[in-house]
């Protein structure tokens, strides 16, 4: 695949974290050409993690979630096209459709993110929400302020967990429904997943695991949730957090390979002069020998920068993108962090603190290698082991570091 370093213009589709960090990287690296930033939300780029935490709780207002102070944002000198949606792409002719109008691109960076998976049959039913955008967060906040009798959170992943935590802060009774027997069991394994689940129970959440949702009941407004075990939970507010789907609908017939995201090579190149980053990008991470798509905040930052630089390099100069995935989540008064790629059947060792005090760090290992570190209120330890993960440390080296 050929790519030119003599670029005059770059179009970035997607004006959230990955897209903004891409634009910042281009300018920092001295790119003086036009940068066109296309985003379907009519807002300057904002930060999403507070949407389930500080903004939802009312601790912060909208002015606090900007991703870039106005003067710094202006200094990027972007051709800013907000409230505009990319509707089509043809990589063979180097053309892009924006709201149906065709334009040419020189270099293109795709960062269109993902959207929430929804429960079937809930369209148009008031009181049922997903959480992805600022408008979603403000709507749920309004509903929480209205004093609902009970909130049902569907899905005990990290978004669901944060929403439950914030709802508890409003003094609203919360039921959390999770299809897996142990929340996050597939990520953290059952032992550690159970501890994370217990924190919800500690905080008064009615946690129902190993049950699905059969139906969200109500005529115009939600009235109850019927579970797969026939239990019915009365609820006037339901928040669904059951994962996300990459936004690739506009890439049909583009010439790109779309398969649960935009498939890239190991350098984040998807086609000549086209790269992808953030929630929408799938690429083979040589560190793991695995094709992955990572929906973490930190990945959007890193991959946005990497994909931007990739556009400025020749194939010979390009380097693979080899991150150790990392994310954090804040729930109640606990901070959880995970770095690496654990599997549920990995060996697990407690390296700091204890499960009982809800303050601990555990490491995961497989086939003689350190694979991950997970911490609850243990940021220092998590980052130390993340350093070991980046070096490709062995399991025994990690245990030795821990002093075991």
């Amino acid at each position: 695949m050929g790519s030119s370093t003599l670029r005059n213009a770059v179009t970035i589709v997607g004006a959230s974290l990955a897209g903004l960090r891409a634009a910042e990287t281009l300018r920092r690296d001295g790119f003086e050409g036009t940068i066109s930033l296309v985003g379907d939300e009519p807002r300057v780029p904002y930060d999403r993690p507070p949407l389930s935490k500080q903004l939802l709780s009312g601790e912060w207002e909208v002015d606090r979630i900007s991703l870039s102070p106005p003067e710094r944002f202006m200094s990027l000198d972007l051709d800013l096209r907000l409230g505009r949606r990319a509707t089509g792409l043809d990589v063979s002719s180097h053309t892009l459709d924006v709201d149906g109008a065709t334009e040419e691109y020189d270099g293109l960076l795709i960062a269109t993110g993902a959207r929430c998976r929804t429960l079937p049959g809930t369209d148009g039913l008031a009181g049922v929400y997903t959480l992805r955008t600022l408008d979603d967060s403000l709507a749920i906040r309004e509903a929480l302020r209205g004093g609902p009798r009970r909130v049902v959170v569907v899905g005990a992943g990290f978004i669901g967990a944060e929403v439950a935590s914030t709802a508890v802060g409003y003094g609203v009774p919360v039921t959390m429904v999770e299809a897996l027997p142990v929340p996050l069991g597939r990520v953290l394994g059952d032992t550690v997943g159970s501890v994370v689940a217990e924190v919800h129970v500690d905080n008064g959440v009615d946690l129902r695991c190993g049950v699905g949702v059969d139906e969200i009941c109500g005529t115009d407004r939600v009235e109850s949730v019927r579970l797969s075990n026939e239990a019915v939970v009365e609820a006037d507010l339901v928040v669904v957090g059951i994962g996300a789907i990459p936004n690739t609908d506009w890439l049909e017939d583009s010439g790109l390979t779309v398969d649960d995201g935009v498939l890239c090579d190991k350098t984040c190149l998807a086609a000549p002069d086209v790269t992808a980053a953030g929630d929408v990008a799938r690429w083979p991470n040589p560190r793991y020998g695995e094709v992955m798509r990572v929906e973490h905040w930190d990945n959007a930052v890193e991959q946005g920068a990497h994909a931007a630089r990739r556009l400025m390099l020749t194939d010979e100069e390009a380097v693979p993108f080899t991150p150790v995935p990392w994310f954090w989540s804040d729930q109640y008064d606990r901070k959880v962090q995970l770095a690496g790629r654990p599997r549920p059947d990995d060996e697990v060792a407690l390296v700091d603190g204890s499960f009982e005090e809800r303050r601990f760090a555990v490491i995961y290992g497989r086939e003689g290698l350190l694979t991950a570190v997970f911490g609850m209120n243990r940021p220092r330890q998590v980052m130390q082991f993340k350093g070991l993960l980046q070096r490709g440390a062995s399991w025994s080296e990690a245990l030795e570091f821990a002093g075991n």
């Binding site: 910042e24 991703l67 930052v301 954090w328 220092r380 980052m383 350093g387």
Partner: protein, 63 residues
Amino acid sequence: MHIVVDYDLCESNAICMQIAPDVFEVRDDDFLYLLDETPGEDRRAAMDEAAQRCPKQAIRIED
């Protein structure tokens, strides 16, 4: 180069410590300590990265 941390924003994710342990340290009390408020110019790339990768955007570089 002057490093400023907004401690009202900082949530001790410790990403900065991993990038530049000579400048940032999250101690056992889970608080961030700034070890060097005026790192040398040779540390600028690392400081830029720390500021950009801070999930709370709590690190500012003042020239």
